[in-house]
């Protein structure tokens, strides 16, 4: 397949002047305490963590590494709020507080986008246009449910669970906080949220927003820290509900921890989504979808379309178009409004991506990246495509969580389904074809919680999201998302 060896002539690349977003709206403190009982408090047995911008290695702020006693204080505050303030509110009152939060997120959207991009490394275009608006939309959507639970299909007067312990990842820090907090609060629970170790800042700005919204103290508590903090929260006897988004490996440990207790559990874990392109698909659109599927957010997406399954007859065409398109992507300063690909979130994650990509080469797959200059400071990985990938390779089986696409082929719809489902994961899948009946047949047969047909990586607060198989259980979003926080 000599055509694969070289990318087609690169399309003309426009040069843009730098267009960095201003930091003027940013009001970071030099250090943050824990948000417990409605106030920022000093730790009892916690330490400190520095949070670093992955694109520059600049220290942004110092945050608290909460210890076991800090977690206990947060759970105690949440329990008191469940039995007192927040727990005594009517649905209509809860709704109004959540509407306030939605509005405050919109009002402080620029600041939140800047904080998110600095702390996470994602392009400002994505934090501005995706993360922040979706976070606001999530609160707005669930606000409206708070006084309508009787009509949600779970019988009359469904009960909340109590105190929810929520552990979220670093890939969409603010959005994941919104996915966790909004339905939990709407249903009448109180929350202890543990942001990811490397991306605590937007949750701390959210804590300020919760103060501005004047939520009853303790309804939301935010404990920053690392894996030990999360483990302490999950294991705490005062927690009634555990919700976790992150890797399947950690999810498994959490399920073991929760075993034999009274705690309710929902898990949103890893993925290795197949993105299936049939020969009759609108290939230019499909290529846009493939790029969005795996290079959105540097591939730090649990539902990323990391396995491209292309019908054999259009394999060369699709790979050619893909390489041409990738040659136009701009990698660099995440704060620049023209940037497509930002920084890898941490040195640890970069090491994992490098190791898995190297394994692809070692195991015989063909590696390609567009010409791309990586900045000297920070953690970066170029968009990478592997062809000649056998389904048994690690890069075809393991979640890479980075901008690395593995291309495989198929000949028949049956083979496409078999290859797509041949994974322990089942979070998402994509199908590209112009044939309506085939879309529905494929959607029916793919073992995935979300199927994007002729699109990819779309999210909406009304749309249930969550996995099959080892991608977890429970749904977030939509009416279904309420079930995770009600005793049903």
């Amino acid at each position: 397949m000599s055509a694969l060896e070289d990318a087609p002539t690169s399309p003309e690349r426009f040069e843009y002047a730098p267009a960095p977003e201003s930091r003027a709206m940013l009001h970071l403190r030099s250090s943050y305490g824990l948000f417990i009982g409605g106030a920022f408090t000093d730790p009892i047995d916690g330490g400190a963590l520095k949070t670093v911008s992955p694109s520059s290695e600049e220290v942004l702020a110092e945050v608290t590494l909460a210890g076991e006693r800090d977690v206990d204080a947060a759970v105690t505050a949440a329990r008191a709020a469940y039995e007192g303030g927040w727990g005594r509110l009517t649905g209509r009152q809860r709704a109004k507080y959540l509407f306030r939060i939605a509005r405050l997120i919109q009002e402080r959207s620029r600041e939140l986008a800047v904080v998110e991009t600095l702390d996470n490394g994602k392009p400002i275009r994505e934090s501005r246009d995706v993360d922040v608006p979706l976070a606001a939309a999530h609160f707005f959507y669930y606000a409206g449910w708070a006084d309508k639970l009787d009509h949600a299909g779970f019988g009359p007067a469904p009960r909340p669970l109590g105190v929810a312990g929520q552990v979220i990842p670093w890939n969409f820090p603010l959005l994941m906080a919104a996915w966790k907090l909004a339905p939990a609060l709407a249903a009448g629970n109180t929350c202890v949220l543990k942001p990811a170790e490397t991306t605590p800042l937007s949750a701390l700005v959210l804590a300020e927003i919760i103060q501005q919204a004047e939520l009853p103290a303790g309804a939301v508590n935010i404990v920053t820290g690392d894996g030990t903090t999360g483990a302490a929260l999950v294991a705490h006897g005062g927690v009634d509900k555990v919700a976790f988004t992150g890797s399947t490996e950690v999810g498994r440990r959490i399920q073991e921890t929760v075993a034999g207790t009274h705690k309710h559990l929902t898990l949103e874990l890893g993925g290795k989504a197949a993105n299936i392109v049939f020969a009759d698909a609108a290939l230019d659109q499909a290529v846009e979808g493939i790029v969005n599927g795996i290079f959105f957010n540097q591939g730090h997406v649990c539902c990323a379309g990391s396995r491209l399954l292309v019908e054999e007859s259009v394999h060369e065409t699709v790979v050619g178009l893909l390489k041409r398109r990738l040659s136009t992507l701009r990698l660099g300063d995440p704060m620049d409004k023209n940037t497509d690909i930002g920084a890898i979130n941490s040195a640890e994650q970069l090491a994992r991506i490098v190791a898995l990509a190297d394994s692809g080469e070692d195991e015989g797959a063909e590696r390609w990246s567009p010409p791309c200059v990586l900045p000297e400071r920070g953690w970066w990985f170029p968009p990478t495509v592997f062809t000649q990938v056998a389904p048994s390779l690690r890069i075809a089986r393991e979640e890479i969580f980075g901008p690395v696409l593995s291309v495989l082929t198929f000949r028949t719809p049956d083979e496409a389904v078999e290859r797509a489902n041949n994974t322990t994961y089942g979070l998402s899948a994509g199908v590209w074809t112009e044939k309506g009946s085939r879309i529905l047949a494929m959607a029916d047969r793919l073992e995935a919680g979300v199927v994007w047909a002729n699109t990819f990586n779309r999210f909406d607060p009304t749309s249930p999201f969550g996995g099959y198989k080892e991608s977890g259980f429970g749904r977030e979003g939509g009416r279904h998302g309420l079930a995770a926080y009600l005793d049903v």
């Binding site: 399920q255 034999g260 779309r458 009304t462 249930p464």
Partner: protein, 289 residues
């Protein structure tokens, strides 16, 4: 004067893939009535029997989940029809097993029959209460549908040998799951008789598999089996349930927790169990001309 009639006794075997094998281990255990009479030597299933049952269930899954909901509803209704015809047999079996009064046993059987009817009617309605059309903020057609989780390991309630079993089994299969049942350990005979009803109704072989034997031996195997997608621990002991929940984490099994021993299975079942082993699938497509 005619000779006294010697009755023909039944051999109680396992139910795997639509057939009634003995345990491959050749073992059996004695089951006695509530007042201590010998009732039967029941098959004592082994870990290999568990694995065979899981394989049979997995093989039966595609056609059962792929059947139309209307068809599944009719098959479950057929179970109720056949059970009604054997009402007296089951009343006797429950009296023997549980030492229940005739009235109490009859109530159990009637409730069990009615439960099949209840869930038969749900088969083609569950997607309409658990599915949705989602008004996303963009030009996309977006809908969610419930799909079965897959192979479910069911630890039948202990002490409610027919009604308890039907209460956990019928909702699981109504939505398209397939099941491997560990029967009530001390009162397994009604479960085996129910298997005979299932075998002669239109339930395809492998959709329901029934194992008899000690929980302590069977439940851990089922809980750790990677081809089991969900576990209903309704009848498991506290210790076994906790260990099974932890073992279930191996492949992120969906788990329905144990229920109290004195749980009253006669109450209105609602929809909670119907919705327990389903996966919600959401499909997006752009709208455009």
């Amino acid at each position: 004067m005619s000779e006294p009639r010697v009755d023909v006794r039944k051999t109680y075997k396992l139910f795997i893939g639509g057939a009634f094998p003995r345990s491959e281990s050749g073992r059996s255990y004695v089951v006695e009535s509530a007042d201590g009479r010998f009732l039967a030597n029941v098959a004592w299933a082994s870990r290999k029997d568990v694995r065979d049952a899981v394989a049979a269930a997995r093989a039966a899954l595609p056609s059962w989940e792929g059947a139309t909901a209307y068809n599944r509803g009719q098959v479950l209704y057929r179970v109720a029809e056949l059970l009604e015809g054997r009402r007296d047999q089951f009343v006797g079996a429950i009296r023997d097993a549980e030492g229940a009064s005739a009235r109490h046993a009859a109530r159990q059987v009637d409730a069990a029959i009615d439960r099949w009817v209840w869930y038969a009617g749900w088969a083609d309605k569950v997607a309409q209460i658990a599915g949705s059309s989602n008004p996303v903020a963009g030009p996309y057609f977006n809908f969610s549908v419930p799909e079965p989780t897959g192979v479910i390991g069911l630890v039948a309630p202990q002490g409610s040998s027919l009604l308890g079993l039907v209460s956990v089994l019928a909702p699981a299969v109504a939505v398209g799951n397939v099941a491997v049942v560990v029967a009530d350990e001390r009162h397994p005979l009604p479960a085996v008789s129910l298997a005979e009803v299932l075998a002669t109704s239109d339930v395809p072989g492998g959709v329901v598999n029934v194992l008899t034997g000690p929980q302590a031996e069977l439940v851990p195997v089922l809980a750790a089996h990677r081809d089991v997608d969900g576990l209903d621990l309704a009848g498991a002991t506290v210790e076994l349930a906790a260990a099974a929940e932890a073992a279930g984490a191996t492949n992120i099994k969906r788990i329905s927790r144990r229920v109290a021993e004195d749980h009253e299975w006669g109450h209105d079942p609602g929809t909670a169990r119907l919705l327990r082993f389903i996966e919600t699938k959401t499909v997006w497509h752009p709208i455009g001309v």
